[in-house]
């Protein structure tokens, strides 16, 4: 039995010896060419002149392509066909690819790309939320609205009310491996593409369209990514298509990788949001009515913005029952990078909105913020007697009509408060703040309830392909991609346990569209849920065939054939798995099978905002303590305590790794990671020198992470839960802790925007101290 154990990452040995290959490490065929885009320096306008002769004349340049040179589709959009690979007369953001340089080396291509003479008749760009609202520049016909009850009336009737506005910055993925692709022409016009992508099928699809061939003419392979985080769900399309087109044209292998600065300037990021809120509540802190207006800055193309904005609406409740609620969502079109998928996919933004409300309400009432949150929690799942439900009545219905049947946070909050010593530390922080004015401390608590499943229901499917060879070794393939989350390892554990064999007998192979077709992106945290089940189905098919054969041969019931610890037991006979495989092969039993899985129970109407978008919810909670230097705004995380629900974890070591990494990335989003565009629409923070992701020195000094001892109440693979995205939102506790520390500097509510950089913290302290 190999599931639910802490096996190391499948490629760990390759990684520590520097031999794990990413796209740019793959040896390229002789004569390979390298590509670079020429980019728009203007946010919005019409190209009036394009002189590419100096580019063509540059050393090492083999070809230069514009939109007119593309033989078939000029489109790399994953959704609305509104994203040309190369600009077609107009430009829509600074960084938009206008032409493609094909050269003998990466540097030759990049140097040449700077030499074009491009003239653009500039128009006034739409950059900000205000400008987009004023211009009615949006995707979809108008705002989306999800509502229940009469929020406005409930707020009006409530004894107390808070309202405010929150600005919430975007986030650069900063996958350490930049976008990359390699296309190698095959015989008969076929194309092999190696791509650093979370979505090989989408790459296959877009490349086929660009080459004017059926999808069967394109094979896409992805062994691993050096980080993805959503940034490689659609953003790799451009490179793969460019490589394929250039490879077709030149007959030579073509590789493209973005330099870091280009990567940050060209590719989409997390959506930044503005959220306005009004909340009515009683003196006990019970919410009566809440209204949100969410403004999402989507950039120039639609990409995945609609489902991202939907998910923000679907997480506007987070862990709280909102009896009357109205959520309005504006998806705004701006002349900036096309905002895209990023870990949490809008969920974090929605959640920050309600956590801000909770923070504000607690401040207004002078109530303990943890207690306030617990009062407003959804009802506990059946069988959780750890805490008495407050509030009475059935409080389990989300604003979109899905019942919360697996709510774990009452018990989890109890456990975390206990293990983190909350009560004593709260008192200690308050005492410290009463005595010190230069350094203030703060505590922040954030619960997370995150819906698991793609909200586009048809994406909730997965396939697998498993072979057992006659020596008993197993070849495993499925549609999921490996970006560091340990998916391959987890899925291999499933296969090993189905056959009762050691993990070493299972070979994990690169994701390959020729082995498993029509896959969904490895996204929405669904990787192991979906692919684990598909692999299980494939393994079980083979196992049943072997069992039936052995039962007949050894005169026993099929149910009596057991696969355990590398051996197979049939009637009185006992043999190794390898012997069993050999016998089955000689008995002409097929030892290869596909497997398929589709998530049950989900059904969802995104226009009406009703149904069951999620198979289940994953939970977590975090308590963060910070110290703030009130003279400079500089701050530091002193301690973080986390309890996270991974169901019956398939691999606790990998899952805890996801939790730690997610928390730190989430905290980075809300504290140090600031994206700055200037008035011309140029991104000024396009390298790690100006864009600050957390470093080793920023890790909390005390970092206690534990998994909640539970199992999924739904039938998932070995009752585990998805763990890719949910822990990201635990980082909200760091932002809340900063708010708490700032609040100790005066009487007013700090209303801290995000990211709460040292500068913003310092400003907020100034406002509080000046009493404005």
């Amino acid at each position: 039995m190999s599931v639910t154990r802490s096996h190391p990452h499948d490629a760990a040995r390759l990684h520590v010896t520097g031999t794990a290959r990413y796209i740019d490490d793959i040896p390229t065929p002789r004569g390979s060419l390298h590509l670079a885009f020429g980019l728009s320096d203007t946010a919005r306008g019409t190209i009036t002149a394009l002189d590419l002769d100096p580019v063509r004349a540059a050393p090492g340049v083999v070809a230069v392509l514009t939109a007119d040179d593309l033989p078939f589709a000029n489109d790399v959009s994953p959704s609305a066909h509104d994203e040309p690979l190369l600009a077609t007369g107009t430009v829509h953001y600074v960084g938009q690819p206008i032409f493609l340089v094909v050269a003998e080396s990466h540097l030759a291509a990049r140097r040449a790309a700077r030499l074009a003479r491009v003239e653009i008749a500039a128009e006034v760009p739409i950059l900000t939320i205000d400008q987009a609202m004023a211009a009615e520049s949006r995707f979809e016909e108008g705002p989306r609205l999800y509502a229940r009850g009469d929020a406005a009336a409930a707020i009006a009737a409530a004894p107390r009310m808070v309202e405010g506005t929150l600005e919430l910055g975007g986030q650069e993925h900063f996958y350490l491996e930049g976008q990359a692709a390699l296309a190698v022409p095959q015989e008969g016009g076929d194309m092999l593409v190696q791509s650093s992508t979370q979505h090989p099928t989408e790459i296959q699809h877009k490349v086929a369209e660009a080459l004017g061939v059926p999808m069967h003419g394109v094979r896409v392979e992805t062994r691993r990514m050096g980080g993805g985080f959503g940034g490689k769900e659609s953003q790799g399309n451009a490179l793969a298509v460019a490589c394929a087109v250039a490879a077709r044209m030149t007959g030579r292998a073509c590789k493209m990788r973005y330099d870091r600065d280009d990567d940050m300037v060209i590719t989409g990021k997390r959506h930044d949001f503005r959220i306005t809120y009004r909340a009515g509540f009683d003196d006990a802190g019970m919410l009566q009515g809440v209204e949100f207006v969410q403004y999402a800055r989507c950039g120039w193309a639609q990409d995945l913005s609609l489902p991202v904005a939907d998910r923000a609406m679907l997480h506007a409740d987070n862990a709280y029952f909102l009896p009357n609620v109205r959520i309005e969502s504006h998806r705004l079109k701006t002349n900036t990078q096309s905002a895209t998928a990023y870990r949490g996919f809008g969920g974090p933004q929605g959640m920050v909105g309600i956590e801000r409300v909770m923070d504000h309400v607690a401040h207004d009432l002078g109530m303990d913020p943890v207690e306030l949150r617990r009062r407003n929690y959804y009802d506990a799942a059946a069988g959780d007697f750890s805490t008495k439900n407050l509030g009475g009545g059935a409080r389990d219905l989300t604003p979109y009509g899905q019942r919360v049947e697996d709510f774990e946070l009452h018990g989890m909050t109890d456990a975390l408060m206990e293990s983190a010593g909350y009560a004593a530390r709260r008192a200690a922080v308050d005492a410290w703040n009463a005595e010190h004015s230069a350094i203030k401390k703060g505590l922040g608590f954030a619960p997370v309830k995150f819906g698991i499943s793609f909200t586009l229901t048809h994406l909730n499917q997965a396939g697998a392909l498993v072979h057992v060879y006659q020596d008993g070794s197993v070849h495993l393939n499925h549609g999921g991609t490996e970006m560091g989350q340990g998916l391959f390892q987890k899925v291999a554990q499933v296969a090993a346990s189905r056959f009762g064999i050691p993990l070493e007998m299972v070979k994990i192979t690169a994701t390959d569209t020729a082995k498993v077709p029509n896959t969904s992106a490895t996204a929405a945290s669904s990787g192991s849920d979906l692919n684990g089940m598909a692999v299980k189905a494939a393994c079980d098919t083979i196992r049943e065939r072997m069992a039936a054969f052995l039962a007949e041969r050894h005169q026993c019931e099929v149910a009596q054939v057991r696969f355990e610890e590398g051996r197979v037991f049939a009637g009185g006979a006992e043999m190794t798995f390898a012997q069993a495989a050999q016998m089955a092969y000689e008995g002409r039993v097929s030892l290869s099978s596909t497997g398929f899985y589709k998530t049950p129970k989900v059904a969802w109407d995104r226009i009406r905002g009703e149904g069951r978008p999620f198979f289940y919810f994953a939970y977590g909670c975090a308590l963060t303590e910070v110290a703030v230097d009130t003279r400079t705004g500089e701050n530091r995380i002193l301690r973080a305590d986390i309890l996270h629900d991974a169901g019956a974890s398939l691999n606790p070591a990998l899952d805890i790794g996801q939790v730690e990494g997610g928390y730190v990335q989430g905290a980075g989003w809300l504290t140090t990671e600031e994206l700055v565009w200037d008035e011309a629409g140029r991104l000024r923070t396009h390298a790690p020198s100006t864009y600050k992701i957390p470093a080793c020195s920023d890790r909390p000094e005390v970092f206690n992470v534990a998994l909640w001892d539970g199992q999924n109440r739904e039938e998932t693979i070995y009752r585990s839960k998805a763990v890719g995205e949910p822990p990201f939102m635990l980082g909200i506790s760091a932002w809340l802790a900063l708010s708490d520390a700032v609040a100790a500097c005066g009487d007013a509510y700090p209303a801290l925007d995000a990211p709460a950089t040292a500068e913003r913290v310092w400003d907020a302290i100034g406002r509080l101290r000046d009493g404005v």
């Binding site: 990452h9 740019d24 470093a695």
Partner: protein
């Protein structure tokens, strides 16, 4: 542009190559010598993914010219393991699950090894600040620090 001939030592073996005077040591290692363990994460000295040592000193190979390798000794991640056996740092990184996507790992191992050679008994704070120039987007760093501390302890015992 005419190429420069460079003779150097890499992981204890002599090596010779021709390079463009503008070419970085990172590009030379990756593109000319096939040593792709050092990665390019930024190309500007800000991420540490390209870390190697030059005469024992930790450097970002993206900020060193290939031509500067002349007569020097370069050590890369490929040379950390003394033969088939893994170096204690490598073993501890596997044991502590101190990597996810793994692309930062080579640079971090080179940097950590350089630290332990200077300071076999670092405090946790010293490790954290020494590695502050090596970005990792996946792990949140906790397991990395634990792995380095644990490897240091084991190496002290063995010494």
């Amino acid at each position: 542009m005419s190429k420069i001939h460079v003779s150097t030592t890499i992981n204890g073996d002599t090596a010779e190559f021709l390079c463009d005077p503008r070419e970085t040591l990172l590009d030379v290692l990756r593109d000319r010598l096939g040593l792709t363990g050092a990665k390019e994460g930024c190309g500007t000295g800000d991420c540490g993914a390209c870390s190697v040592t030059l005469d024992g000193r930790l450097v970002c190979s993206c900020l060193v010219l290939g031509a500067e390798a002349e007569g020097r000794e370069i050590a890369t991640v490929e040379g950390i393991a003394p033969g088939e056996e893994l170096h204690p740092l490598q073993r501890k990184f596997i044991e502590h699950a101190a990597l996810q996507c793994g692309i930062c790992t080579p640079g971090i191992l080179v940097a950590a090894k350089a630290l332990l050679e200077k300071n076999p008994d670092p405090t946790e704070t010293e490790v954290r600040y020494w590695l502050a120039g090596n970005l990792c987007r996946c792990t949140g760093y906790d397991k990395i620090i634990r792995a380095v501390m644990d490897a240091a302890a084991e190496m002290r015992e063995a010494a």
